[in-house]
Amino acid sequence: MTARAPREKRDPLARKKLCHVSPGQRSRAMHAMAARAAMGRFVLQTCTDCGTATYPPRDACPKCWGELVWSDQDNGATVLCKTMIRVSTDLYFRDHLPWRMGKVTLDAGPVALVHLHDALEAGERAEIRLMLDRGGNAALFALRPGERQAMNDPQWREFVVPVQGRTVLVSDARSAIGRAVVEALHRAGAPLVIAGLPGPAPASDVTDALFGLDGVQAVPLDITDSVSIAEAISKIAGPLDIVINTARHVRGGGVSARGNLVEQRRAMEVSALGLMRLAQACTPLLAGRPSGAFVDVLSAHALSGDSQFAGLAAAEAARFSLLQSFRHEMRAAGVRVLSVFTGPTDDQDHQAVPSPKVAPGRLAAEIVDALANGREQTCVGEIAADAMERWLSDPLLYAREKNL
């Protein structure tokens, strides 16, 4: 392999810089806002009686005491005033001073305090993004109108997961999805992508152009085997910033009819227990990093049972559940846990499934985009988006109609 970017050299006994997270106490209403922020939406509460939009989140409309519901809103705003905070008693913000914040009037009506992009001044127009902060809570960030990213603003980088300059592990790089992810991360500027290759290794691995790329390192990795995971991680000479779990075992079949217990056990081993093994092994490395992240690729079948893919749906549902628990565990360490839901992908696993199918390259691009925007939950493709929408609005109905 040719020369890569120089690795960080560290004294293993040196005291590590502690990674603090932003203050975490929130009201129930604010958590509801965060749940919507996780999906990349810009929402405010509006009154069902008088229509007034309100912020900060309340439990009654301040104009008429009507019921409040969450609704998507225009994210335009005008900056009213600003400050640069140079002193803070909070350990997280002390590490990131000075911190620029301001106040805006939202086009939707209310005023709000916001994290302020370093180029925005009082009187100027802004576009407000509803993000999740390092503690996993909802926060408003003002960018210049039309600006999608602000990677040069150190404050913005606290809300997203930069890929440039970071080391990434892809758990299964042999699948079509995994290959696309390795390639997309490499293109996005990750200087080292560790490509995990489950056995048995075919002879073509040696000559595979993808694994021969400068900055891509292939390692044997079987996430159904703890020893294999430990060995793969021990081969990473340096810090690990991002883990992308692409592993899964897709097979059709029902519960009684065409149910194959051997395949089912394998699906559980990969989707559910595999996630646990990988999470346990990677957590200590991710927790020490300034913007560690764990991305999990899930089948949209995780949301509800499916008579055609009963085993896969059950395994992915278990995975979905574990992922929610894992996200909560990682909050205190400031490690983001991102879910990427996908419908059937255009690969060997879904040869019998009709279109629309998600191209692996598109899935990989969406993963890079989710990282770049710090988006906790992403649905890739029409089928996953449709499944999520139906599930969110009426999970019992969705379980019936999915199997009609």
């Binding site: 203050p23 009201s27 900060p56 640069m84 905070i85 002193v87 008693t89 909070d90 911190w99 914040m101």
Partner: protein, 390 residues
């Protein structure tokens, strides 16, 4: 509504006491409240059995409220109040106690504010201050009140043309007033140069715009003229009061406070105007709030607060003696006691019992309070006009 308000007949305010502040104290708020009661006893001769009314304000007495304090301090009042309104609590205690005494629900009311300041307690009390703060303020850099008032100051300066030099003049004058107050925590000379070149805390708020949190207590007594006379206690009568919460909720930035809503009621009830006031004691956690009170209470012409500051001297012997003990900026901010300091200092000046230098011929004091940044602004405002009783 044009219903006229009843005058505060049959009410006297007396016995302003201050328990000397300390930057940090290992003692809890209860200790400071106890010291305040002892100081009231020394000033009036009233013991635990004499007080039949008790009004308490504190941020650091938790888990206790005024209820716990009655047992703690051996009081059996027939009238009890607990005020969570911080910087506005002094005037609010005054007007509540006054109506209780006037109507006969109580005869002798102790109004007490006490707070401790242990190492790190400021950070703790900040972190649990209000729900809106937790949801929508702290996550944005956790600058505390410095950041909130920086935003207000930034907007206020642009709106009214007030400069840092103008704020500096107020702070420098207050520090000069503190020189004669032996209880002020900060009595080193402050020059305008030092003010201007101080380090930024949250632009445009700089070091000398910020108060120093400390431990301390303030208290006074509200009773009837008969009882005051019998005990030989000098006292003041209440000419007028106002109080307002969450005024102008649709103002996008707080460029005015509740005083602006109730100013006519205040001066109308008092029967005098701002020019009749001998000394002004305002809440001074950040000079922008001092300027706002000067404007909203009618001391300055509407929109011309910058000119007023430039053309007025605020020393003890000046045109408008302002925060004559040095204010919280120099005396220190002892939590809720910071909201009582304006009442006790105003009373002292008109009762001729100053801690330091006496305002010449002081008869009438205007007192103004401001408290509780729940989200993006101070929610509670109050004001009172007191006149020395002949």
């Amino acid at each position: 509504m044009n219903r006229s308000r009843a005058a505060y007949d049959g009410v006297v305010v007396c016995a302003p006491v201050t328990v000397p502040y300390r930057r940090f104290s290992p003692e809890p708020a209860h200790w400071w409240a106890g010291r305040a009661m002892r100081a009231l006893r020394d000033a009036t001769g009233f013991g635990p059995a004499d007080f039949d009314g008790f009004c308490f304000s504190s941020f650091s007495a938790g888990p206790d409220t005024a209820v716990g304090l009655t047992q703690h301090l051996g009081l059996s009042p027939r009238w009890l109040d607990h005020l969570p309104t911080g910087g506005a609590s002094g005037v609010m205690a005054l007007r509540r106690a006054a109506r209780a005494v006037q109507c006969g629900d109580a005869d002798i009311v102790a109004c007490v504010a006490a707070d401790t300041n242990q190492i790190d307690s400021f950070r703790h009390s900040l972190a649990t201050f209000s729900r809106f703060s937790q949801d929508a303020v702290y996550p944005y850099g956790f600058g505390g009140p410095n950041a909130t008032f920086a935003l207000i100051t930034d907007a206020y300066m642009r709106e009214f043309g007030v400069t840092r030099e103008d704020f500096g003049k107020l702070c420098v004058a207050q520090r000069a007033n503190a020189m004669s107050n032996p209880l002020a925590l900060q009595r080193r000379t402050l020059t305008l140069d030092a003010y201007m070149s101080a380090r930024a805390i949250a632009d445009p708020v700089h070091l000398f715009d910020c108060v120093m949190p400390c431990a301390g207590a303030e208290a006074f007594v509200v009773t009837t003229p008969e009882i005051a006379t019998e005990r030989g206690l000098p006292g003041a009568r209440i000419m007028a009061t106002i109080e307002r919460h969450n005024a102008f909720p649709d103002d996008s930035v707080q460029l005015r406070g509740g005083w602006a809503m109730d100013i006519d009621s205040l001066w109308g009830m008092a029967g005098i105007g701002p020019s009749d006031v001998d000394t002004l004691q305002v809440y001074d956690d950040y000079p922008v709030i001092v300027a706002m009170q000067i404007a909203d209470l009618g001391f300055a012409e509407k929109g011309k607060v910058a000119d007023f500051i430039r053309n007025t001297s605020f020393g003890i012997d000046g045109d408008l003696p302002l925060n004559t003990n040095g204010g919280q900026l120099s005396a220190g901010q002892a939590g809720a006691a910071g909201g009582f300091q304006n009442v006790t200092e105003g009373l002292r000046q008109i009762l001729r019992q100053p801690l330091g230098q006496q305002v010449p011929d002081a008869e009438i004091a205007a007192i103004s309070g401001f408290g509780l940044v729940n989200y993006d602004r101070g929610v509670c405002t109050a004001a009172a006009i007191l006149e020395a009783r002949q």
